[in-house]
């Protein structure tokens, strides 16, 4: 069996992020995704959803995040969209990895991880909403 598409609506809070992680575990297990792929998908969605919770919606204000995952052949396509203030996360400069321990800021790694781990990562505004579109090419072996 393979789950070929999964759409989810979640509240912008940690409880729903936890439920999402459990659903991704189930999805990866059922569809026989490799542990590497399962880890990358969890991590990137964790980072992006956390950013919408932390930086997107006003603290305490209710917010909704929509997610769509499609799995066809050796390709995962993921779309995350939200209704918070428009912000392109890929407009951030990458973190300076050469800084020493005293100078490295805490944080600022989430978007860098997403960009590095995914095959494609793009931002778009569609119908006034933030949309992040990710693609992960799966190894034929996985």
């Amino acid at each position: 069996m393979q789950i070929t598409r999964l759409d989810v609506v979640l509240a912008a809070d940690l409880a729903d992020l936890g439920a999402l992680m459990a659903t991704l575990d189930h999805f990866a297990g059922v569809s026989g995704l490799s542990p590497d792929v399962a880890f990358k998908v969890q991590l990137c969605l964790d980072e992006l959803v956390n950013n919408v919770i932390d930086h997107g919606y006003a603290p305490g204000a209710p917010g909704e995040i929509r997610l769509r995952i499609e799995h066809h052949g050796d390709r995962l396509a993921i779309e995350i969209s939200d209704d918070a203030a428009l912000f392109d996360p890929f407009s951030n400069p990458p973190p300076d990895l050469d800084l020493g321990v005293d100078d490295r800021p805490l944080g600022g790694l989430g978007v860098h991880l997403v960009r590095t781990l995914m095959t494609e990562a793009r931002y778009a505004v569609d119908a006034g909403r933030n949309h992040v579109r990710l693609v992960l090419s799966l190894e034929p072996a996985s």
Binding site: L14, L17, G18, M21, P35, D36, F39, Q42, L43, D46, E47, N50, P95, L97, D98, G100, V101, D102, R104, L106, G107, L109, G110, H112, L113, T116, L117
Partner: protein, 110 residues
């Protein structure tokens, strides 16, 4: 979250179990702060029972490295699986942390 501790001579080995994510990282951060305040400044963080780490978990590791440096102590990472190692590398932490394949090599390297 489960966190196990053991002592090898003057080195404290501390091992987070499971996931270091937005739910669990603050708990691990708190535990590490308590450890440092207690006077343990030679620390091996054993990641061999860790399945998952996100950027907030990486921030906790960086934060302990900063504190240990101010205290003129020592912190090493040990036992990472390949997935966690790749995330640690992407974050440039190989330049910041002493990294060992196992707790044993980390303890022996003192």
């Amino acid at each position: 979250m489960e966190i196990t501790e053991s002592r090898h001579r003057d080195i404290l080995v501390i091992a987070p179990v499971g996931r270091l994510d937005s739910t669990n990282a603050p708990i691990f951060d708190q535990r590490l702060s308590t450890t440092l305040e207690r006077g343990d400044t030679a620390i091996v963080i054993d990641l061999s029972a860790l399945d998952y780490i996100s950027s907030i978990g990486l921030s906790v590791l960086l934060s302990v490295a900063k504190k240990v440096r101010r205290l003129e102590g020592r912190v090493a990472l040990a036992g990472m699986n390949d997935r966690i190692r790749s995330v640690v590398e992407i974050s440039g932490f190989t330049r910041i942390f002493e990294i060992h394949p196992t707790v044993e090599t980390a303890v022996a390297a003192t």
